[in-house]
Amino acid sequence: MSTTVVAPLAITGCGVVSPAGVGLDALAGWLRGSAEPAQRGAADLDAPDSDPIAGDFPPMPLAAIPGLRVTDYLGKKGIRSLDRTTRLALVACYQALAGMGTPLTDEDRDRTGVVIGTSTGSIRSTSELCRDTYVQEKPYMVRVDQFPASVMNCCASQIAIKNSLHGVNATMAGGRASGLAAIRYARNAIARGHADHVLAGAVEELCPQSAWAWYRSGALTAGAAVGEGAAVFIIEKPEGAAAGGRVPVAELLGCETAIAGTGMRRALARCAERALERSGIPADAVTTVSLGATGLRGLEAAEEDAVRAALGKLPTIQLRPSALLGESFSATAALQIAAVLAAWRTDSAAMGPVALVTSIGHDNDVGCLVLRQPGYNQKPGHDQKG
């Protein structure tokens, strides 16, 4: 693997929807402990104040985004045929773009890409289209407007269409680390000149298909909820952000992923070590870890062991967003990043300057991202090495 220190990238916008609600502040509130973990029963999924989530769910805790009406953000035009996966990501993108200090110009949009992580697309859309092939009078009588949505790249391409973004448009299937895969792809696309800005993130919708899959898989620990969410980050070079008058909310440093045949602990520890090396950050500078495997049978302890192995100890501040938000598979790592940004927003000093986002999953995948508070590398005594 290359050991060169990567050029930092700036996050200049962030949008998040999660069972904590819409936006970073709602997430920050939950992380501060002002709310109970999300455990809504299936009966609440069609609450009158929200877009309903139809269907029969398994008898297990569920965590849906409360009070979400996407038309409040996206208007009514062209929304009807979009599935929940696409809607959640569109709301996150809307927020990320709206929150930028200086909006993207039309010229910027020609050079703005979209990279979205999802491992199945909307599994509800695909399954429902497929169901029609079995239950309709003729097997080909599927809904025409549902076919594009059954393909995984639908969400990323809809983001481009709705926001006129003509740059590279890619969909990453990366399991629980999909958000990290999106960041790796985005970093290369920016470095190689395929885009100036990238909206990178990941999404997972709550639906009966995936909830039953989790229920049947036996992969979650007792009491763990199945959740949903989307988080999208606007990524660009720091010099581009400065030229555009946009203030970074975080610096993206090393981001490493791997597949491990055996020895997941060791693989994740090595991944974390590499990510730190490529960030030019010593292990003892890490002040916060945002863990992802909370609630995953067999992996929760492995993840914490790996962080201990890489850093010598667990950092003082540990964020476990999945404990609050539920297991949201492809959106997990992106929501872990959002959790760091949310915590920084409310208490940046206590959180310290450097956060590690770790990922470990049942598809033998491990990943690690290093995030730094902007300006940290200018402070004396913390010069970047390498």
Partner: protein, 407 residues
């Protein structure tokens, strides 16, 4: 990024599992002869479907191709990906242990991921209810397993990226793999793609009017649509210098790529945006339109795609259109693997000296305008130096790779 210093990237191994055979030799031989891999669908019950032809693989035996993966734990697309990757490594003549210890990763494209498993699980939903979904089956569904399968089969220590940008995915993968080797992020990358035939995709393509009844005739006046297909394809990438140093057979050099997004319509392609993508690919590869000796078309055989594609090519190349053909006429549309098969046959065309044909061509559609040379029938001897490989997808996702003869 033109002119930016970087390492030159060579393709030194090719792997194919397709309806036209296993391994790059038998695949290429069949393509050169203009043979068809299209047959009656066997992978699902076609009762009630008006059209029942596709490019299915009848003789895929993962056990005989794979050394490490336990076949029962993986879906068909993952197995196709891993098998193609294993074949590409064997073809590259590189020691697997050396590769496993090196800085090596994979990047694979897919449209449906484990789409055939979704068929099966939905069948369970319909007959027994979701509460009876098979535990082992659901664990095999996530599409990230397509790339993971490659790394686990070959014990690669680097990243495994699965790009799900529909039918342009393999070209995205080749571009990313090229960048990883070029920048030194990795020493070796396996780029490719895999997809399986699924009932729901067949239904969807039929319903939107994109399916042909039995014959895929790209660029023909009587073309009526595409045929879905499956396959696994892999290209082994390393530095040109490294390839020369170890005395490897070099099929081709990856010169560059372009990617963009129409951002206009979820299904209909846009010729202006595709033309922009071609120009970007040329610029990034440091070539001009007159340098291009052949275009491996996206060429799905739908009336709309082929007209749009030729119109875009015309906008870039003017009156001098390079020969342009579609191997989908023989293997059908292998979806996420399609532009990977295109890249593979481009490598072979550069290496062996031929132009791949468009089969089933009776009369080039006059509406496509003058000067459209689709290399009808069987392959044509030629000595292409630089070729262009197209991949377009639903959602207006365009990706174009440029490959050159190794010199």
């Amino acid at each position: 990024m033109t002119g930016e210093a970087g390492r030159r990237v060579a393709v030194t191994g090719l792997g194919a599992v397709s309806s036209l055979g296993t391994g790059v030799r038998s695949f290429t031989e069949a393509i050169r002869a203009g043979r068809s891999g299209i047959a009656e669908i066997q992978s699902f019950d076609t009762t009630g479907f008006p059209y029942t032809m596709a490019g299915g693989i009848r003789d895929f035996e993962p056990e005989s191709l794979l050394a490490r993966l336990r076949v029962a734990e993986w879906g068909r697309s993952s197995l196709l990906a891993a098998a193609a990757a294993r074949l590409a490594v064997q073809d590259a003549g590189i020691d697997p242990d050396y590769l496993a210890a090196a800085s090596a990763g994979s990047v694979m494209g897919t449209t449906g991921g484990e789409a055939a498993l979704v068929d099966e699980l939905t069948g369970t939903w319909v007959t027994e209810g979701m509460k009876n979904l098979d535990r082992a089956q659901v664990r095999k569904v996530p599409a990230d397993r397509v790339g993971a399968a490659v790394n686990l089969e070959l014990e690669l220590s680097g990243e495994a990226l699965t790009i799900a940008t529909a039918c342009a995915a393999s070209n995205y993968a080749l571009g990313y793999g090229y960048d990883m080797v070029r920048t030194g992020e990795a020493e070796f990358m396996i780029s490719g793609g895999a997809d399986s035939i699924a009932r729901w995709a067949h239904a969807g393509f039929y319903r939107i009017g994109a399916l042909a009844e039995s014959v895929c005739r790209p660029f023909d006046a009587d073309r009526s649509g595409t045929l879905i297909a499956e396959g696994g394809v892999a290209l082994f990438l390393e530095t040109l210098d490294g390839a020369v140093a170890r005395g490897a057979r070099i099929y081709a050099e990856v010169l560059g790529y372009g990617v963009n997004c129409d951002a206009r319509h979820p299904v209909a392609p846009d010729p202006v945006s595709i033309a922009d993508c071609i120009k970007t690919a040329h610029r990034n590869a440091g070539v001009s339109p007159e340098d291009i000796d052949y275009i491996c078309a996206h060429g799905t055989g739908t009336p709309a795609n082929d007209a749009t594609e030729i119109s875009a090519v015309r906008a870039v190349f003017g009156d001098r259109l390079p020969p342009i053909s579609s191997i989908k006429s023989m293997i059908g549309h292998t979806l996420g693997a399609a532009s990977g098969f295109g890249a593979l046959i481009c490598c072979m065309a550069l290496h062996e000296g031929f132009l791949p044909p468009t089969a089933n061509l009776v009369q080039v559609d006059p509406a496509l305008g003058p000067g459209v040379d689709c290399v009808p029938g069987t392959s044509r001897p030629a000595a292409p130096r630089i070729v262009e490989n197209h991949g377009f997808a639903f959602g207006g996702n365009n990706a174009i790779t440029i490959l050159g003869r190794a010199v």
